[in-house]
Amino acid sequence: MRPIAGMFLAGIATAVIGSFVLAQASPDETAIEGLTFLGEPVSEDDLIAGKQIYAESCASCHGENLEGQPDWRRRLDNGRMPAPPHDETGHTWHHSDRNLFIVTKGGVQAVVPGYESDMPAFEGILTDDEIAEVLAYIKSTWPERQREFQAEVSANDRGGL
């Protein structure tokens, strides 16, 4: 295929796909600028769903306002660490999308074999889409600096999924 012909066809394809996406999208499904999860766009609907899932499955330990458990840098009597905050005061924004997804789905032991944590694996409790939604919601609460940092960490994560 000659380059010009290729560009022409690509342009048509883009126009068709764009028309399809615009025809299907409702306002709440419109991608939020600057926010993705695992490379996929995140919509307002995703965030609403994620916020609800967070309230039901995460807030009891990580706090209604993502503030974490009190004195979260100090070990519990059982030797395990308290639930850290998910806001900018914690370390969640240092982890890539892939890391966060795997930890949520498989538990911390999926990241560090043998590590003992009070956080359960959410596989079988939440679907992959629900895990993505709640993590997208958490990301949406971060200030710009933390979002930019975490986006770079995710971009440099060569592990893939």
Binding site: R73, R75, H94, S96, V112, P113, G159
Partner: protein
Amino acid sequence: MGESKLRSVYPTLLPTRRAFLSSALGVSAYVLLPDLARAGSGGGIRALAFDGDVLLAAEATLNVSEDNGGTWAERTTPGKVLAMATNPDRPGLVAAGLEKGGVALSADGSATWRIGNAGLPDGEVNALAIASRNPDLIYAAVRGDGLYKSEDAGETWTLAMDRPWLKEAERDPLTLASVDLETGMGGIWIYAGTEMGLTRVPDCFCRWQDVQPGNAMDALVSGDAPPPENPLPDGEPVQSLASSPSAPERLYAALPSGIWTSADGGVVWTQVALSAATAIAVHPRDETYIAAVIGGTLKLSRDGGKSWTATAAG
């Protein structure tokens, strides 16, 4: 040299912590030691560090050598030093963890000192590290408490993380090393030697963890990853650690069983000295140039530990 001996020479130059803090700035003394034996036997050395080509050895007092251990000069410090850290990007910067608590900092290679320990609790500071990529970022382990960090060159401190949990108990870091290897979390590692072996934490302080092959992201899928091929002896105290600034994956560790080295960030270790070792440091520009206290004697190696030569201090 014992502290009492130094007091007899400079009785006013060893202030109490309270007096030192109130004066804000430290004072120093510099004493040439024509008698090389005065530099110490080596056996009492708690910490070693290189500040460029200058070798620092802390025992009851701090001694420095600018000629590879040939001659030594004594420097006063605000207290007995248990740990030291330097950073090749800021020559002259020396951080010293004090037995009486607090961190002393020098900007001129240990000639003068200041104390900047706001937020740091009382207790021995027995391990220190300066972040490899940021000389203003300093980590200090307070015995019986936790790991603290300062992002303003030691002026103020905040708790970074509780102590590591190894073999069903919290363990005090005996030594810290900022290891300039990527964690996959936008930062680098902090390694800690404890009475129960080696551990490490990313500098985001998410969790202490064993050393595993590859970076932390590789470990994500390491449910089937093989264990380290040759870790340090299980349960043996790691008294001192050093990561080479010129080759960060090259680590050295001082253990009761001897000196061990790793060329891969701590996954595979090889023993290079068989006598009990208590302190070690590596030259900032030459990863094969090591100073270590082995069998109670301060020795140097120019070939990564294959051969050793006792210094005048030894």
